[in-house]
């Protein structure tokens, strides 16, 4: 596909791999957190780690939309389906995320609940138009990338007076998460060195621009290079990070210039600002309660806010015992550090959210990379 294949070229990858190997100082480690699940997916699907020298490693960040949603919010969605007889529309990945009591939206659907997978918020609007006798709730999740389409749906619903439509808003903000990850390491000498720099969000940055990271870089002295989701993007951004670290620079750089500008997309930002406002705080799986880290629907659009239309209690649900998703989402632990990984927790039977989506670190490790664990002990040679 044009504009995609160009960023997956093998020859360019080899050239970049050579450049990275030459640039990387063998006397030090480079631990780079790829913020987004999209990066994690690309690294595993294309085998990018194989092209890196041993001292350049990727630490998987929390930028997987389903991974950071606390269990309580999924419990809320399940309760809406069961108790209020609503049609719940959501993106595909959400269906399998484990909720309390080993439940999930997929199980609720199998038990007769009306849960529908949609590709876009506009599909949810269509379902509301086609089912005037039912309340239709769109389970909105995601970072800044998926927020503008939700804003469009809410505005459209108001314009049409689509009274049976509402949005259960769970949109979260990226800079707050980066700040939380870096803040949690302050004062902890051991943890503080664990991340040398960030591969910054790609699609998110197309909306918010590169500017919001500038304050974080200055405060925490960790470079950020905004990187696209194709494997060559990841490699190019890695090289840019290594160069910054070698030269002692600490800046926001933009590898993804074909999409991201410093200012971002002002139309999308205006749309989001019109429909949403910041919540004082919001719970993130793995990161806890973070101030100014999520959005809610403004009073002007209150008619389309599920949390105002239905009783949606705050549910404090705890993770399954032994599940290391919270530490993995902070980059403190690797999937293989979790006792549940690959034993009771697999993509067929996920215990934690990181095992659900292919953007989740655990699912990516398991589905694409688990041969690396056994490569040392297997009698056959490891993959070329």
């Amino acid at each position: 596909m044009k504009y995609v294949d160009e960023f997956r070229q093998r020859d360019l990858a080899r050239t970049l791999a050579t450049g990275i190997a030459q640039a990387a100082d063998t006397g030090r480690e480079y631990r780079l957190m790829e913020f987004c699940g999209g990066h994690t997916h690309a690294i595993f699907r294309y085998g990018v780690q194989d092209l890196m020298p041993d001292n350049v490693t990727f630490v998987h960040g929390p930028g997987c939309p389903v991974c950071v949603l606390p269990i309580g919010r999924i419990d809320n969605a399940i309760a809406l389906v069961k108790a209020s007889d609503v049609i719940l529309c959501t993106y595909g990945d959400m269906l399998r995320v484990p909720a309390s009591g080993r439940n999930s939206l997929l199980k609720v659907k199998a038990a007769g609940g009306d849960v529908r997978m949609v590709y876009s918020t506009l599909d949810a609007l269509n379902i509301a138009r086609d089912n005037p006798g039912h309340q239709v709730v769109f389970f909105a999740i995601g970072f800044e990338t998926t927020t503008p389409p939700t804003a469009v749906a809410i505005r459209q619903a108001q314009a049409e007076r689509l009274e049976n439509f509402s949005v259960f808003c769970n949109h979260v903000l990226t800079p707050a998460a980066i700040q939380a990850i870096l803040s949690s390491r302050e004062g902890d000498a051991a943890a503080e060195v664990a991340i040398d720099g960030f591969l910054g969000p790609s699609h998110v940055s197309s909306v918010i621009g590169s500017q919001p990271y500038e304050g974080l870089v200055a405060r925490f002295q960790r470079p950020v290079v905004i990187a696209g989701f194709e494997p060559l993007d990841v490699m190019q951004a890695t090289l840019m990070l290594i160069r910054q670290l070698n030269e002692g620079r600490c800046e926001v750089e933009n590898e993804y210039t074909r999409v991201v500008t410093r200012e971002g997309n002002p139309k999308a930002q205006a749309l989001v600002a019109e429909v949403f406002e910041r919540r004082p705080e919001f719970e993130w799986r793995g990161l806890g309660l973070l101030p100014d880290s999520a959005l809610r629907i403004r009073p002007a659009y209150a008619d389309f806010d599920t949390e105002r239309r239905f009783a949606v209690p705050t549910i404090q649900a705890s993770d399954i015992k032994g599940c290391e998703c919270p530490s993995i989402l902070r980059g403190v632990k690797r999937p293989t550090d979790c006792k549940l990984f690959g034993t009771v927790c697999t993509p067929e039977n996920p215990m934690g959210s990181c095992m659900v989506s292919s953007e989740g670190a655990c699912a990516a490790y398991w589905s694409y990379g688990r041969f690396r664990q056994t490569a040392g002990k297997a009698p056959t040679e490891s993959a070329a």
Binding site: M1, V4, R8, R10, A13, R14, A17, C36, G37, G38, H41, F44, R45, Y46, G47, V48, Q49, D50, L51, P65, V66, Y91, G92, D93, L95, R96, L106, M117, V118, Y119, D123, I141, G142, F143, T145, T146, H203, F229, P231, T346, P347, E348, S357, S358, E359, A363, W366, S367, Y368, G369, R370, F371, T374, A378, P379, T380, A383, A384
Partner: protein, 349 residues
């Protein structure tokens, strides 16, 4: 009884009529449906005998039997429909043993209210597929369920076939050093189906690859009787089927991503939908595993057949106690090609 052709005073209305409960009741309406629709189109001497079973002579040697339920939505899709699919699916399951398929049986579960015009379209398509394949539908059954308890029409077909002497093909026979071949491009059927689903509707010229593969198999077995495994990568696609074979045989596999044929339109559609074409279903393709020394000969025979023109050697069988299917990516790295977990769901970002 008078002339059997005049048993029914009014002809079955296959233009505006619908299936109703009486079509499954065992009475005159059911007899009329069978006679004026099923037997009319699927006609052959065994079916015409109108028994509850078909009786035929059994050849000497090994026989195989397979059954397959078909529940596809939508019923009609680019390149086929549930009728042709029900014929091809079972013929292929029989043929993947190396057998020559001989006869089919078909059971129809119809939902009350289903248009007789659609039913006729499906049965005509089945008849055409069966005739083209040379494998007649010799017995059948019809049931009707109440409205809301089915999805228009479900078809289960069962097939029997005869395995040529000296051929032993089974999923547990792959050995290190064997070559892995596919007969053509992967993912066409699944993408054609998705493109015609209501909530997606994207424009593509991709048609389902639905086809009966026993002719191709006969050519392959004729040239290389020592083929170890054959399987058609239907649900779960190439990736899942290879994992099944690796598990059955207790071996690993090493694939070359660049060698796997995938049409650009299929990979583009998958790119847009966030899907992996290796997990997308096929209905007219097969995987063959044979000793490495026979691979080129097998490939040449496949490419000489109309259904194998795009055949390719995509990898090799290796020793691996973990049973991993690994792939060298087109990008130059390596990764596991795992079982499909749950349903393939689109990613969010």
């Amino acid at each position: 009884m008078s002339d059997p052709g005049k048993r029914f005073s009014v002809k079955l209305d296959t233009r505006r009529g619908r299936v109703d409960m009486s079509h499954g009741s065992g009475g005159r309406a059911m007899a009329q449906l069978i006679e004026q629709l099923f037997v009319k189109h699927l006609d052959n001497p065994l079916l015409r005998q109108a028994n509850d079973q078909a009786a035929f002579n059994v050849p000497a040697g090994r026989m195989v039997m397979s059954t397959d339920g078909h529940v596809i939505s939508p019923l009609f899709f680019p390149g086929g429909d549930i009728g042709s699919l029900a014929v091809h699916g079972t013929i292929n399951d029989v043929a993947m043993s190396g057998a020559q398929p001989l006869y089919l049986a078909a059971a129809f579960i119809l939902e009350e209210g289903f248009l007789l015009a659609d039913l006729e379209r499906v049965v005509v398509s089945m008849a055409a597929a069966a005739t083209a394949a040379g494998v007649p539908v010799v017995t059948g059954d019809t049931k009707v369920v109440e409205k809301g308890k089915g999805d228009g029409i479900f078809i289960t077909t069962t097939g029997v076939g005869q395995v040529p002497d000296g051929v032993t093909i089974s999923g547990d026979r792959a050995r290190p050093g064997d070559a892995i071949l596919v007969s053509g491009s992967m993912g066409d059927h699944g993408v054609a189906i998705m493109s015609s689903r209501e909530n997606l509707e994207f424009e593509t010229r991709i048609e389902s690859d639905s086809a009966a593969l026993h002719g191709l198999v006969a050519a392959m077995v004729g040239a290389v009787p020592g083929i170890h495994c054959l399987r058609d990568p239907t649900r779960g696609g190439l990736a899942t089927t290879l994992n099944e074979l690796a598990c059955q045989s207790g071996i690993g596999m090493r694939l070359q991503e660049t060698a796997i044929p995938i049409k650009p339109a299929v990979s583009d559609a998958c790119e847009l939908l966030g899907l992996d074409p290796l997990y997308v279903a096929n209905e007219g393709k097969l995987i063959g595993i044979c000793p490495g020394a026979d691979a080129e000969r097998l490939l040449a025979v496949m490419r000489a057949h109309p259904l194998g023109r795009q055949a390719a050697i995509i990898g090799e069988v290796v020793e691996d106690p973990d049973g991993f299917v690994q792939m060298e990516t087109a990008f130059g790295g390596s990764r596991i090609v795992d079982w499909l977990a749950g349903e393939q769901l689109p990613r969010i970002c």
